[in-house]
């Protein structure tokens, strides 16, 4: 119905009660917010035209994030002045937009571009020294076999290559806080899998994604938030 002339990349945070709302529902919420804002979205052709909106990596239900992204294709160019605030006002409590950039609309999708994510992970019901020992052991090892179910199939894989960094931050009220970086390609490891991989008998507490990373010419960059990305124009709101 309408050709794409520009693509907006939007960075948003998800926190509080709304962390219990799943990825598809968040997509629907953005769909409505974009209509409320009257963004000149490009639409697909056909019997049931749909706005051209694409989301990055899904965030598990229950996890918070400072670094969620979506791309919106536009049929005409839009004024970005004040758009972050307008977006946040059009979203329910707990979702807030703090970065919007216009990116080359032929650029690869978010799903393809992201190679790793940084997380804050709380491990419950464990002692800090046990976790420290488990982390040290895991980082020393080059083979951590983990059984996992994907698309109904159980397999055992070595997840060690996808564990890029683990830092033990210190105790919380209920357990121990970690900061980790986990790869998303070619092999993905989820926060819950990391906890199992540590074999420290703890369960998952609060989990928050703090960054998503893409690799451009051997340099680790955020899709929005750091200088240097292929953006024609960047508007950064308060972060």
């Amino acid at each position: 119905m309408s050709a794409t002339v520009a693509k907006l990349r939007i960075r948003y945070a998800k926190e509080g009660k709304i962390r219990f709302v799943g990825h598809r529902d968040v997509a629907r919420i953005f769909d409505r917010a974009i209509r409320k804002l009257r963004l000149p979205t490009a639409y697909t052709e056909g019997f049931s035209p749909r706005p051209k909106i694409s989301f990055g990596l899904a965030l598990s239900v229950g996890h918070e994030s400072d670094a969620e992204y979506l791309d919106v294709e536009l049929a005409t160019s839009a004024d970005l002045e004040g758009l972050c605030e307008q977006f946040t006002a059009a979203l329910p409590h707990g979702l807030s937009v703090f970065g919007i950039a216009e990116v080359d609309h032929k650029q690869e999708s978010l799903q393809q571009a992201i190679t790793s994510c940084s997380w804050q992970i709380e491990v419950l019901d464990v002692q800090q020294h046990d976790v420290e020992a488990a982390v040290a052991a895991a980082l020393r090892s080059d083979d951590i076999q983990l059984e996992r179910v994907r698309k109904g199939k159980t397999s055992t894989v070595n997840v060690r290559p996808a564990i890029l960094e683990i830092l033990v931050v210190g105790p919380t009220d209920r357990g121990v806080q970690l900061e980790v970086e986990l790869a998303t390609a070619p092999l993905t490891v989820r926060p819950s899998e990391l906890i199992r991989a540590l074999r420290a008998d703890g369960s998952e507490g609060k989990v928050r994604r703090t960054h998503q990373w893409m690799t451009v010419a051997d340099t680790r960059l955020e899709p929005i938030g750091r200088p240097g990305i292929a953006a024609m124009h960047t508007e950064l709101c308060a972060s």
Binding site: K17, F20, V21, D25, R28, K36, Y43, G62, P92
Partner: protein, 650 residues
């Protein structure tokens, strides 16, 4: 402020769809708990996804929160996985706004749209933490109210509810709040005083102030306990929808629900006179919302919510006077507003090409399947039920649909209707096959789904005297259809579980003796009975046997003309002799036309309450046979009253 949120938060990661329990919808009210206000917990006794869109509940939610002396929160039945954790951790039923415990409310009001939710009502009361039986409640326990279509025969749940509200709730909720506010100010209050005060409010029925009198198995009367209590409870009717442009701020949920779109009620009531349809009988007369108010509610609603779909709701939306100009206006507004394509859906499409023409014009964003409800497979059967759709009407409708790009249509039918023969039943298969054949002229993958529901006779309909088919007979008819359609390429058959239809039949025309049965089914774990995976008919048949009740007597027996019904002390305005005459006419295959466009035949719904039909235009919708079985050309002026006063547009 008491809240269960910390306890709830720690278990939400362990349950399916935790977004059901967090609230946070756009449009949610946050009137803070205050002991000086009359507090209502409006509860839908099924899951959040099914309950949230309920328009009745949303309307009352706004009206109560607008009142100076009241506030309202909402609650929904927790799914079984959360219930286990709530009971383990001692978390009571809670509101989704503030996660306030249900016991902190003055009123828990349930919307009852389906009999199979009765056991969930008991479960919600129990989860709230007070006695399920009215007689066992303490002074400060919440008062249990019920409203909605099932309340036209509330006798099966009479033991569990403090008060029943009949009919439209817009006006009566405020009157009830006022009564409760006065009662709360008495230092030595007791429950019976409030019961007595509520019984004086028109439209409010307090079951504990009435007693059924039996002669052996036979009910003789349901009488008030003394002469200060009214003998008959009349339903409430809002005379003009123009005065009630609600909901003004429809709730927009964070998670997907059924009917996830803007919903604007365009009229209440229906005068088509389909004899099987309880909704059409008990909601008379027709009250159309003024066209300009419909248009402004749609325009502002789309702007506020960001939805790209709006449904114009009613019992038969294509019958709205001058519907064409209304939908054209809506589409024009959307084009001017430039938020992208929108779809207008008419939940109940008229069975003729005219209706499909409108659908093609207005479904620009999402094209959902088209659904038609011929209800019966032969003209004879349709005369009996007064659904006067000609075969040509249906074929014109599906031809219009397939030719305009739709690939599949859905057809709704009932089986187990009065005087139905196998010829009538098998007529369903013929109709579906003919529809697919028409479709194949346009698309070789054309298909039709025939959806078969077992007929349940309902109170206040001409079929209230009819003995329902047994589950075995319904299953035999479904099997006939299954065999007949097996080789019909493109015809799909779906059917409702005949065992569930049986339980609906027992409860819809049952009496107070069913109370212990419902309690027994609940106590043995029978909740979420609308959900196939939780329904087990044996729980019901065992409980009936245990309490000495005969299923055949309750569901399958034809009733006598002068039999006393369990709902005879309630009134929807309809004269009993009108209903009886209509029942005799049904068996003689005599049709009855839409009384909006012909002289009154005095069913009682208008004359009894000194109200009349309100229509938005003097032009009846054009084309098709309009359910009269005759070829009609576009109407011209008809003898109706037009609302001339100024209306509020939002």
């Amino acid at each position: 402020m008491k809240t269960v949120w910390p306890q709830l938060e720690s278990v939400l990661a362990q349950v399916q769809k935790p977004a059901r329990y967090i609230g946070g919808e756009q449009g949610a009210k946050a009137k803070a708990p205050d002991p000086n206000l009359v507090s209502w917990l409006l509860t839908y006794p099924d899951t959040y996804e099914i309950g949230l869109p309920n328009q009745g509940l949303q309307i009352l939610y706004e009206i109560l929160n607008e009142a100076d002396n009241a506030r309202a929160d909402r609650s929904y039945a927790p799914w079984v996985d959360l219930e286990v954790l709530m009971r383990r951790d001692g978390v009571p039923l809670f509101s989704v706004e503030h996660h306030t415990p249900a016991l902190d409310f003055d009123v828990i009001a349930f919307n009852l749209s389906a009999e199979l939710t009765y056991t969930n009502v008991l479960n919600c009361i129990d989860l709230a933490g007070f006695a399920v039986r009215t007689v066992d409640r303490k002074t400060n326990d919440p008062f249990v109210f019920v409203g909605g279509h099932c309340t036209y025969n509330p006798e099966p749940i009479a033991d569990f509810v403090d008060a029943v509200v009949l009919g439209d709730g817009e006006e009566v909720v405020t009157e009830i709040s006022d009564v409760i506010e006065r009662w709360k100010s008495h230092p030595d209050r007791d429950r019976i005083e409030l019961h007595r005060a509520l019984a004086k409010v028109e439209g409010v029925y307090v079951p504990s102030l009435y007693e059924p009198i039996y002669d052996g198995q036979r009910l003789v009367a349901t009488r008030p306990i003394d002469d200060t209590i009214p003998e008959i409870i009349e339903k409430r009717t809002v005379a003009d929808l123009a005065d009630w442009p609600y909901p003004k701020e429809q709730l927009v949920p964070l998670t997907e629900v059924v009917h996830d779109r803007l919903n604007v009620e365009v009229f209440r009531g229906c005068t088509r006179g389909c004899r099987f349809c309880q909704a059409g009988m008990i909601t008379r007369p027709v009250r159309e919302r003024p066209a300009e108010q419909v248009r402004s509610m749609v325009r502002e609603g789309l702007k506020r919510t960001g939805y790209d779909q709006v449904s114009l709701t009613s019992l038969s939306t294509a019958d709205f006077s001058d519907i064409e100009s209304v939908v054209t206006g809506i589409m024009d507004d959307a084009t001017d507003d430039a938020r992208g394509p929108i779809s207008v859906s008419l939940p109940s499409l008229r069975v003729d090409a005219f209706g499909v023409g409108i659908a093609a014009q207005i479904q620009r964003a999402k094209r959902t399947g088209l659904t038609f409800a011929p209800e019966a497979g032969t003209w004879r059967m349709r005369q009996v039920i007064n659904k006067l759709i000609r075969e040509e009407d249906l074929y014109d409708a599906v031809e219009a649909a397939y030719s305009q790009g739709w690939q599949r249509v859905k057809l709704y039918f009932l089986t187990g209707l009065p005087s139905e023969t196998d010829v009538d039943t098998l007529g369903i298969a013929e109709l579906a096959r003919n529809c697919v054949e028409i479709g194949k002229r346009y698309n070789k993958r054309a298909s039709a789904t025939a959806s078969i529901g077992g007929f349940v006779p309902k109170p206040f309909t001409p079929f209230q005297w009819f003995g329902q088919n047994t589950p075995q007979e319904l299953q035999r008819k479904v099997n006939l259809l299954r065999d007949r359609t097996r080789k019909m390429h493109g015809v799909n058959l779906k059917w409702h579980d005949p065992a569930a239809t049986l339980v609906e039949g027992i409860t819809s025309r049952g009496d107070r003796r069913l109370g212990p049965v419902i309690e027994e089914v609940w106590r043995t774990g029978g909740i979420f009975q609308e959900w196939g995976e939780h329904f087990n008919v044996d729980r019901w048949t065992d409980a009936m046997a245990k309490h000495g009740l005969d299923i055949d007597w309750y569901a399958h027996r034809h009733r006598e003309e002068d039999e006393v019904f369990a709902w005879d002390h309630l009134s929807a305005g309809l004269h009993r002799d009108f209903l009886w005459q209509d029942w005799r006419d049904a068996l003689d295959q005599v049709g009855l036309e839409d009384c909006r466009w012909i002289p009154c035949y005095d069913c009682g719904a208008c004359t009894g309450y000194s109200i009349e039909h309100v229509v938005a235009s003097a032009t009846p919708p054009a084309g098709g046979s309009q359910g009269t079985g005759q070829d009609l050309h576009s109407g011209g002026a008809v003898p109706v009253t037009l609302s001339s006063k100024q209306v509020e547009t939002v």
